[in-house]
């Protein structure tokens, strides 16, 4: 404890930055607006999947898998947008210089901002849980749906949040940071949209497995639709775990490259 009663953790620079960023994200319109948009989309998808028998040509299990995948994808996108703006946005708003002038190490700035951005996917998953559980009641795969959300969601979310942060740290322009981050998310998500036959071959299977996004989304399919066991699908969780760790390390290392820019 410090003299004023704050714990050691709360006086760490990254914790101070994270607390400030959390307030900025959730007490301003930004975080709540993104979460509201996410909730509206998820509600619409869930409603269609659960009630509209004419439009819903899917098997009930496929509907649950789609809802879980959409929840993971949109939650990751929301967190990615927030993290990709974290440093490059400060640079564009001319508020980065003041931060860089404090004695706080740049690593702590990046870690604090990354933690705050991570709450975006955390909130998305919390919002998605009742949707996934309620729609899964019928085929009794609710527990699996929730489990997929709380394992795959955080891993993919953490990996992509770190990726956005790394881009934000090194990009001089906010537009470049956002475009690069979203572009990579789309590229990573693309294999999950391939026809099933394309991912059944050896090469297709490897590509899906080493890609953290497609592996995570495929895991949702195999657990929720094909009703495979978690133990038999462990290979699909490896790349999200590795990506989450590796990209977090990359984001922290990218903090060394945080610069103001080249203005005279």
């Amino acid at each position: 404890m410090t003299a004023d009663g704050t714990s050691g953790l709360a006086s760490r620079p990254w914790a101070i930055v994270a607390a400030h960023e959390l307030r900025s994200l959730w007490l301003s319109a930004k975080g709540l607006t993104v979460l509201f948009g996410y909730t509206v989309l998820l509600s619409a998808m869930t409603y269609l999947a659960a009630t509209n028998s004419e439009l819903n040509l899917l098997d009930a299990r496929e509907s649950i898998a789609i809802i879980v995948q959409v929840a993971i994808g949109l939650g990751t996108l929301a967190a990615l947008v927030v993290s990709a703006d974290a440093i490059s946005g400060e640079r564009e708003r001319d508020s980065l210089e003041a931060l860089l002038l404090t004695p706080v190490p740049r690593r702590d700035l990046v870690i604090g901002k990354m933690l705050a951005a991570s709450t975006m996917w955390l909130a998305s998953i919390i919002v998605a849980l009742p949707y996934a559980y309620s729609i899964a009641q019928g085929p009794a795969v609710g527990a699996d749906a929730v489990l997929v959300l709380i394992t795959v969601g955080p891993l993919v979310g953490a990996a992509l949040t770190a990726l956005g942060m790394a881009f934000s740290a090194v990009s001089l322009s906010n537009r470049v940071s956002l475009a690069a981050s979203i572009g990579i998310l789309l590229v990573l998500a693309a294999p999950s949209q391939l026809p099933a036959i394309a991912s059944r071959g050896a090469l297709g299977s490897i590509l899906v497995t080493i890609n953290p996004v497609s592996a995570g989304l495929k895991l949702a399919n195999t657990i929720l639709i094909d009703q495979k066991t978690w133990a038999s699908q462990w290979t699909l969780i490896v790349s999200p775990v590795v990506a989450a760790i590796l990209l977090t390390v990359v984001a922290v290392l990218a903090s060394r490259r945080v610069r103001l820019g080249g203005s005279r």
Binding site: T2, A3, D4, G5, T6, A10, S11, P13, I16, V17, H20, R23, S24, L27, S28, A29, E90, R93, D94, S95, E97, A98, L99, L100, L101, T102, P103, V104, P105, R259, L260, G262, S263, R264
Partner: protein, 319 residues
């Protein structure tokens, strides 16, 4: 950390690719001194400040801020306060929250940060608006908030880059008064970057004029203006009847560049050395019995010296 000068900058160079923005710049700032760094746009003032505040790495040279070398950025940042030229704010938080946040980032405890924020808001004249979000602030209020933020860690050296730019006369007056008070009361050294020469002339103890990355003149305002090749016209008003006699005396006087009687009794003389020649002219006229009604000594304003030293006048004419 040090009892020497607050800022010692030696042969500093800053490059952006092939371009040298700062070239062999050296100066020092004593404790409690207000030092003005002047120059036209693109002269390299902001680059000097950014190098001295560890935002960019110099390509050559060295500097010490309150004894801390630039190779110890954490040390330097612990003793400086900076108001950058482009100063953005998080719009959705209050002024008080903003100062508390920066207090915490500068190592203050939560309680100390609250106390410091409140006292700074009072110090810069923002008491009463600390609870308002920054988006409601005028430019002048934002500048004052920026100064408050720069002071949050009780810095020994304060760097202010164009602090009065875009402010109305009352706002400028406010900021300049505050600046002087800070230097006088706390012994804080101030490095003031500006191209508003009236401001600099008013508050700075010493100045350096920067042009194309190099210091072209430095010293006190009086020294710099005296060294500039301007302001050497002495205007003498004599009795109308004494005009011819005065002209005869002046024609024989040494070191006179030109003489012109613009109207009876009013003579303009261009001298070579402002102070010495002015005295000798006066002496010669009095010895010749010329009745002098008025005599205006050669006066050089800083802006004239600035224009002459930086070649801005010629550049403007070329444009």
């Amino acid at each position: 950390m040090s009892s020497g000068p607050a800022v010692v900058c030696e042969n500093l160079e800053v490059g952006y690719g092939q371009m040298k923005a700062v070239d062999d710049v050296s100066f020092s700032v004593e404790v409690g001194q207000v030092f003005g760094l002047l120059g036209p746009n693109g002269a390299g003032k902001t680059s000097v400040v950014r190098a001295l505040t560890t935002i960019i790495d110099p390509s050559a040279g060295s500097a010490r801020i309150s004894g801390y070398p630039l190779t110890d950025p954490a040390g330097v940042r612990s003793v400086i306060g900076v108001l950058p030229e482009s100063n953005g704010y998080p719009e959705s938080i209050t002024a008080s929250e903003y100062l508390r946040y920066f207090g915490r980032l500068n190592g203050l405890s939560a309680t100390a940060a609250i106390t410091r924020a409140a006292s700074l808001l009072t110090e810069v004249g923002l008491d009463g608006v600390g609870g308002k979000t920054i988006r409601t602030f005028s430019r002048g209020m934002r500048q004052r908030l920026g100064i408050a933020r720069a002071l949050v860690n009780r810095p020994s050296v304060l760097f202010l880059d164009e602090p009065t730019l875009g402010l109305d006369p009352a706002g400028r007056e406010d900021i300049l008064s505050q600046l002087t008070a800070i230097a006088l009361s706390d012994g804080t050294s101030v490095v003031l970057c500006s191209h508003l020469l009236d401001d600099v002339e008013r508050v700075c103890d010493r100045i350096a004029i920067l042009d194309k990355g190099k210091i072209v003149s430095s010293g006190s305002v009086a020294d710099v203006t005296a060294r500039a090749e301007v302001g050497r016209v002495v205007t003498i008003t004599v009795e109308t009847a004494d005009t011819d006699r005065a002209l005869d005396v002046l024609r024989d006087a040494p070191a006179i560049r030109s003489i012109a009687a613009t109207q009876p009794g009013l003579i303009e003389v261009e001298v070579s050395r402002p102070v010495e020649d002015f005295n000798s002219l006066l002496d010669a006229l009095l010895r010749a019995g010329v009745s002098i009604r008025a005599l205006e000594p050669p006066k050089t304003r800083l802006n004239e010296a600035f224009l002459a030293l930086t070649g801005e006048k010629e550049r403007a004419n070329d444009r």
